[in-house]
């Protein structure tokens, strides 16, 4: 396996980690204003992701920085090209980060309501924007011979991408409500499960429409034929099984399978792209690939050694933080957020 392929896999892993982990805290942020009827309930909801969301977000930053180091042209083209979506994404991430941290610092009702909605918008926008971005990556965007994106903002907003955005947001919403069934107890837990039941249906419908649409909008069909391979099939099967598991109140399994859905879906997107990283809709010769967009072999070697030695340690201590805060949050307990 060449280092270019290895780095494509590392970036895929980082994005997968980001969507699986930050996916549920996006979901919690979206559902919190609706599920939480009282101030304490809203606090419980936010505290359920309190110790985790920041480290979850670093998966995205690492993916971006990894692209910069391993595929500078991918980083340069994507972020200068998807300029306004990235700008909105950054504003959204700023808003939610500050919202979680500041919300309960003061007790004015208006202050708290304001930050609740900032956290809502800041959690809803990123998965939608990522859905839009990934759909466009698969569909291809106008890229010229100098690797520059030459479409505008509205070029990115097409029906296919919008459906991708909605599907992604729903997926995160489902994942987040399932996470809540594991972190909360009593009434809130029951209502989170009920919400997951309803969201699960819509997510499944949306995702399957998206997959069908993908056959028309992307070169997935040309590339793999009618049988899409095991990854998307697994994604579909896990997604279908989630509502059954919710129904039988296997909360833990439902969460694991929704995590698998997200992981397999992300992997499918990257598998579809490979070995390209950005598809030019103008001329296949102008595609960015893991070869023409990459850093030199020396930099890739150094970065491979660094990433492969640091990432396992990250897995361990981040896993440990989930172990430390494994206990359900109780009504009446001390809350830090």
């Amino acid at each position: 396996m060449s280092l270019n392929v290895l780095w494509f896999i590392i970036i895929t892993v980082l994005f997968t980690g980001f969507f699986v982990l930050e996916g549920f805290d996006f979901g919690v942020g979206i559902i919190a204003p609706f599920l939480g009827k009282t101030d304490e309930q809203r606090r419980l909801l936010i505290n359920s992701i309190g110790p985790f969301w920041d480290a979850n977000e670093v998966w995205f930053i690492s993916a971006g920085a990894g692209m910069f180091a391993a595929f500078p042209d991918w980083y340069a083209t994507l972020f200068s090209g998807f300029y306004i979506p990235l700008f909105l994404l950054l504003i959204a991430l700023m808003a939610r980060g500050v919202a979680f941290e500041f919300r309960s610092k003061l007790s004015h009702a208006r202050w708290r309501t304001f930050w609740d909605w900032a956290a809502f918008a800041g959690s809803l926008l990123p998965p939608m924007l990522w859905g839009i971005a990934l759909s466009n990556l698969m569909r291809g965007v106008p890229i010229d011979a100098h690797m520059n994106y030459v479409g505008g903002f509205w070029n990115l907003i097409n029906p296919y991408a919008v459906l991708g955005g909605i599907s992604m947001a729903l997926l995160c919403l489902l994942h987040g409500s399932l996470f809540l069934t594991l972190r909360l107890s009593g009434d809130l837990r029951v209502r989170a499960r009920a919400a997951a039941k309803r969201i699960g249906v819509w997510t499944t419908i949306s995702m399957f429409l998206f997959v069908i649409y993908s056959y028309f909008q992307t070169d997935l069909f040309v590339k793999v034929g009618l049988d899409p391979g095991s990854l998307p099939v697994l994604a579909g099967m896990t997604l279908i099984s989630v509502p059954f598991l919710i129904f039988t109140e296997h909360d833990g399994w439902a969460f694991i399978l929704s995590a698998l859905t997200i992981a397999c879906s992300t992997a499918t997107v990257f598998y579809d792209l490979f070995p390209r990283v950005m598809i030019s809709s103008l001329n296949p010769a102008w595609d960015l690939t893991i070869y023409n967009a990459a850093s030199g072999p020396y930099a890739l070697t150094v970065m491979s050694i660094v990433a492969l030695s640091i990432l396992p340690v990250v897995f361990i201590y981040q896993g440990w933080t989930y172990w430390v805060f494994r206990k359900r949050l109780d009504v009446g307990g001390h809350l830090d957020y």
């Binding site: 500078p72 500050v98 500041f102």
Partner: protein, 465 residues
């Protein structure tokens, strides 16, 4: 030209803004680590309350440092895509390592620290805040490795019109980095120290929680004294390195239009006429520039015009002179702020030797200290403005000009959109941040969070032998 101008303004304001929070984060993380270590070793509940009080202020600040930092990670791609393509092979590596090694560490352990007071044994809990300190310091380490490459490119080879890394070792042993990192890191400690000392002074003046804040003050002022002196010592070494590595920045920071005489005098202040390349008004200290540059009373320092001629023959026609006015004055403001801090820290350290009451009685001095919180922020900002603007017209010294670094496809309207957008959001954050700081400082250490009896109870099992 408009696009370059806007891109530079955006980078400048977002980065200076981000760097208001970063040094305070590093400095406070270190000081809170020290306080909590004292709690764990001395078993004194006061230190726990101390760590929790400063921890609250730390978190308000940390949140903004984190969210403005996300922007930093991506704006190279947004507004500087040609730069990213040109140096990504070299410059991307330290950024990616920063994210993998530092951001994961600090974000995971800030979670266990904030939410783990009642869930983790004290020894593991204190380890969390040390991990945060290590994380934020590693972050500084790697981002300054990247910045040092821009000041003094090393460890690369040019091919196909781009820089490619050929020595990672050279990158992290960059002579520029060896002076830049400790200068910034000790500057961050100074920032945290002056913040803690200033806020403590506010309480001592009001005679609230005197034992807790007298001790906070001592921890801060001793750290601040050591750190601020080291900042100056390393800064001196930095200047001596600058004259070899970036003589134009040196000349500009001294408004030295022509190569100096053998015994170079140093301008304390000057009125600069950048059009006619002269200083109509100038207060000079004889020999001082030679001493600053070479540790001798002799040695001439190359001037702007001579260097400009040299660069034209080396790099082709163009203007290689940075804004002399900005470079000259930011340097002086930084040095003045730094000197004031050393002086205040020395006096405070001397006073800190007294008992709590003796300290609380120095009202004149205590009244100055809250205002002195501004000094490290002034020094940090002016220092960075000097070093970044003094490098112009280069983005990467001698390799890539700033004007050639921007994203060719991102037009002026787009940059206006984001500059206004980030401007509004950052301004709102600043208002909220200051409001929260003032509220929490006025409120003082939280009695609810730390009633002595309850904490003592919670403590019992952990410390029983």
């Amino acid at each position: 030209m408009w696009a370059v101008w806007l891109d530079r303004w955006q980078f400048g304001f977002t980065t200076v803004y981000h760097f208001l929070f970063v040094p305070l984060t590093i400095g406070l993380a270190f000081l809170i680590s020290v306080m909590e270590t004292m709690y764990v070793t001395k078993h004194d509940i006061m230190y726990r309350r101390m760590a929790q009080f400063w921890g609250k202020l730390f978190l308000i600040n940390f949140a903004l440092g984190v969210v403005t930092g996300i922007m930093q990670e991506f704006q190279f791609g947004m507004n500087w895509s040609n730069y990213s393509r040109f140096v990504g092979d070299v410059f991307g590596a330290p950024l990616a390592i920063e994210s993998l090694a530092a951001f994961f560490l600090e974000s995971a352990f800030i979670g266990t620290w904030l939410f783990g007071w009642d869930k983790l044994p004290p020894k593991i809990h204190v380890l969390s805040i040390w991990m945060v300190t290590i994380g934020v310091s590693l972050s500084a380490f790697w981002i300054l490795t990247a910045n040092s490459f821009m000041q003094e490119p090393v460890g690369y080879v040019m091919s196909h019109g781009r820089a490619h890394m050929n020595s990672f070792g050279a990158l992290i042993t960059n002579p520029q980095f060896r002076v830049e990192f400790p200068h910034v890191w000790f500057g961050a400690l100074t920032t945290g120290s002056f913040f803690v000392a200033g806020v403590s002074a506010y309480y001592l003046l009001r005679r609230r929680e005197i034992p807790l804040f007298a001790q906070s003050f001592r921890i801060a002022v001793y750290t601040g004294l050591i750190a601020s002196v080291l900042v100056a010592v390393i800064g001196h070494a930095q200047g001596q390195h600058l004259i070899k590595a970036q003589p134009m920045k040196m000349a500009a920071s001294e408004a030295l239009w022509h190569t100096s005489p053998y015994h170079a005098p140093w301008s304390l202040v000057a009125w600069i006429d950048a059009k006619d390349h002269r200083n109509p008004f100038d207060i000079e200290i004889p020999y001082a520039l030679s001493i600053l540059s070479y540790n001798h009373t002799y040695g001439s320092v190359p001037g702007i015009e001579e260097l400009q001629e040299q660069y034209v023959s080396k790099y082709g026609p163009g203007n290689y002179v940075p804004s002399v006015w900005v470079t000259f004055w930011t340097f002086r403001v930084m040095v003045l702020a730094g000197s004031l801090m050393i002086f205040l820290a020395m006096y405070g350290a001397f006073r800190g030797l007294r008992d709590d009451e003796g300290l609380a009685k120095r009202r004149q001095y205590l009244r100055i200290m809250p205002w002195a919180i501004s000094l490290p922020f002034i020094a940090n900002s002016t220092g960075w403005i000097m070093t970044e603007m003094g490098r112009q017209p280069w983005a990467v010294n001698g390799l890539l000009k700033t004007a050639d670094s921007i994203s060719p496809t991102v037009g002026v309207p787009l940059v206006w959109t984001t500059i206004i957008g980030f401007g509004i959001v950052y301004a709102a954050f600043a208002v909220v941040d200051v409001y929260l700081f003032v509220t929490f400082i006025k409120k003082g250490p939280d009695p609810e969070r730390g009633p002595e009896e309850m904490d003592a109870e919670a403590l019992q099992p952990a410390f029983e032998p």
